[in-house]
């Protein structure tokens, strides 16, 4: 049961300090996780494959070197698939239910049912909803303060589609890139944030 990483880290620890803890490398942790998880329902093993964003944000504990972050953010920006032509503002009522639902993409759930965005898990949005999380910033009155011009629409759509394009180690999921939310759902969320009629802007 003495693993390779234990030996390697043990040798390193001897050199550095006799009290240093044997610490596995990021690669070794990945191998251990792949061995210790099983696919279940829609949650297949590919979900454990770290991409460059996850790798860099893990290795740097969320604080990547600025130059590398910039480069990877640019790569992420290229993944954003904007709908062709016209307004990105959908129906805020659809957005309200997607924002409220914390369901979707879990191993016990029906993959045919649309996923929620779980927005309220982390963000304050409509003043009428008093149950909201605080992991992300408050988005109350978002459209009222920013307007709803095409540039703002593109920013909000892009941020929901792939938050890592704007802030590499953001805690926000990449809802479009991971096919968690559809184009229409994201447009509806844009409306929920930007439409003057939306409860968010009351």
């Amino acid at each position: 049961m003495i693993t390779k990483w234990m030996l390697g880290a043990g040798l390193a620890a001897l050199v550095v300090s006799p009290l240093a803890l044997a610490e596995p490398s990021d690669g070794e942790v990945q191998e251990i996780m792949k061995r210790d998880f099983r696919p279940k329902g829609q949650a297949k093993m590919d979900r454990l494959e770290q991409d460059a964003v996850q790798r860099v944000c893990t290795a740097s504990n969320g604080k990547p070197p600025p130059a590398l972050a910039k480069q990877l953010e640019a790569d992420q920006m290229k993944t954003i698939a904007y709908p062709s032509g016209g307004s990105l503002i959908g129906n805020w009522k659809g957005g309200a239910s997607t924002a409220w639902s914390g369901q979707g993409m879990q191993w016990h759930e029906d993959p045919k049912k649309p996923s929620g965005g779980g927005c309220y898990n982390c963000h304050e949005m409509s003043p009428a909803r008093t149950s909201f999380g605080t992991i992300g910033p408050s988005l109350k009155g978002f459209g009222k303060t920013r307007g709803n011009g095409i540039e703002t629409q593109r920013y909000v759509y892009g941020k929901i589609y792939n938050a890592k394009a704007y802030n590499l180690c953001s805690e926000m999921p990449r809802f479009g890139l991971t096919n968690s939310l559809t184009e229409q759902q994201i447009k509806d969320l844009v409306a929920y944030l930007l439409d003057p009629a939306s409860p968010v802007n009351q």
Partner: protein
Amino acid sequence: MRTTVRAVALGVALAAAPAAAQESQFAQYQKMVAEGSPVELFELVGEELWQKKQGPKNASLEQCDLGLGPGRVKGAHARLPRYFKDVDRVMDVETRLLHCMLTLQGRSREDALKRPFGNADNPSEMEYLSAYVAGQSRGYKMSPGMSHPQEKESYALGKKLFTVRTGLWDFSCASCHGEEGKRIRMSELPVLSKPEAARPLMATWPAYRVSNSTFKTMQWRLNNCFRQMRTPEPVFGSETINALNMYLTVTAKGATYSGPGTKR
């Protein structure tokens, strides 16, 4: 009251009847103890299951060595997870209970793990047993194993796992449990890398969870976090789960165990 409680608990535990009959007995019992602590029920049923002979070897778990020697349950939960020489690995309480089901009772892994996590209508054997074993450590100081190289290795792995970005939605444990004063919806999120936050929590798991209307274990808690992180499912008793449990318990060390608790 206590005698009645025990008698009914015995009935529930020993009923080899189909799930439906068991459910209705359980429902009756729930009514009876509505004003008492539901935790006590789980401890009592767990004790009966601990003593119940079953499996191909028709043996009870009474000779299970939880780290203090065969049959010594008092204070054992508070000393876990720890390294076990007989299996040459670190085990938490549920992993060790599973080991005892396989070795002492001769059950297959498939049989013993058919239903590690139950529900309000039909709690699992593991949940009852965890309640009993944990209850036997009330008042004991939590001191998980920290001296054996594998115990240190387990802690180091758990600490590292805590910050690994993974799953469909890029979360790590620290995404929710890494910053002070944050909430998910209305639930306050403890910063589990901090002893002052880890202690009261780890001192009360396993626990009766009001939102689930049933008793839940630490391995269930970790499993449920990964479900919400949109990963595949962690294997029961795996090194990953044991390492996370080890990391959290070592962070909480020195707390006086006061569970099983009652939680939201």
